[in-house]
Amino acid sequence: MIDPRKSIINKRLGRVKHIIAVSSGKGGVGKSLVASTLALILANKKFKVGLFDADFTSPSTHLILGVKNAKPREEKGVIPAHVHGLKYVSIVAYSRENALPLRGADVSNALMELFATIIWGELDFLIVDMPPGISDALLDVIRLVKGINFLIVTTPSPLAFETVKKLLELLAELKVPVVGVVENMKIRESNFIPQNVRDAGFRFLGELPFDPKVEDSLGNVDTLLKTDFAIKLAKIALEIFL
């Protein structure tokens, strides 16, 4: 028996210029915040941007964007919701307020189903917010999505960088393109991350401050985009993508 979904995925993404997986391996480093804010920043620069929340068991982007009821439409496929100028899909539209316990094989299946049925259309950027761990979702985007790029998020902590380093080595070995590494939630001067990133042969993209205002702006994108965090991320984004 053959699963027909795999063969359509790259056609579905055929008109997407850049696919960026925001990843880390480590949890709680700000992947979702970086992914969501980056998507908003690029959309504000008049790019056509999609945001896909691929963290099915602990999704966050809907809270960051303040989205209620962003259900995709059904029309010869799954048509992303329009949210703050983004094409947006999160599984929360389907699982709602319920826990969604998924084993890895289920994560893999759900990911394939959505990649096979979502009609993203023409996009300059598709930002994929990845779950933590070096597991099914990561292996599947590498396996299934041709031309995917990784943007890696770490914190200053060696606890985060331990996993990030392993992930970077894995991506290098597999020749998966890595845009670079951002250091998020920086609270004090330290050269530990930039140094180690460069030593590992990757581009250090810059640091994003730990910014208490971020917490207060969750759910309000206008406020979020005015935080120091977002302003710094915008600078980095423009350096990378322009």
Binding site: D3, P101, A110, E113
Partner: protein, 132 residues
């Protein structure tokens, strides 16, 4: 009607297989559709008939429904999925992403959401026949 997207996947996959196996023309395609996903078979058939071209122009599509069988990983109980027990919104969620079944269905014996979908999940190609 995202059945259309599933039909496109089938057409694309069949074309790939035809290519790989050097078929000049595809005559018969057998498809299995799991009941968990509640695919509307008429729409799927219509979409397939609209989308088929080139080597698939004369292909006949046979669609077979497969009961959805679930098996609890905790107590090993087996049961069949029945959409009747679900409200409209939950059934629709499962239609789009069958894995969301784990948000809405529990093992009827022990209450666990930790069950396996033994069969009847989504859309599968069973066989592709044609002439070389």
């Amino acid at each position: 009607m995202h059945e259309w997207a599933l039909a496109e996947a089938i057409i694309s996959s069949v074309s790939q297989i035809a290519e790989k196996e050097g078929l000049k023309e595809v005559r018969e395609v057998k498809i299995k559709v799991g009941e968990l996903q509640q695919v509307e078979v008429e729409i799927l058939e219509f979409a397939l008939s609209e989308l088929k071209m080139d080597k698939l122009k004369n292909a006949k599509f046979f669609i077979e429904a497969v009961r959805a069988e679930l098996k609890c990983r905790v107590c090993e109980h087996k049961w069949s999925f029945s959409r009747n027990r679900l409200d409209k919104e939950s059934a629709e969620a499962i239609h789009f992403v069958p894995e969301t079944v784990h948000a809405y269905i529990k093992c009827p014996r022990c209450g666990s959401p930790d069950f396996e979908i033994l069969q009847g999940r989504g859309v599968w190609l069973e066989s592709v026949k044609g002439v070389k």
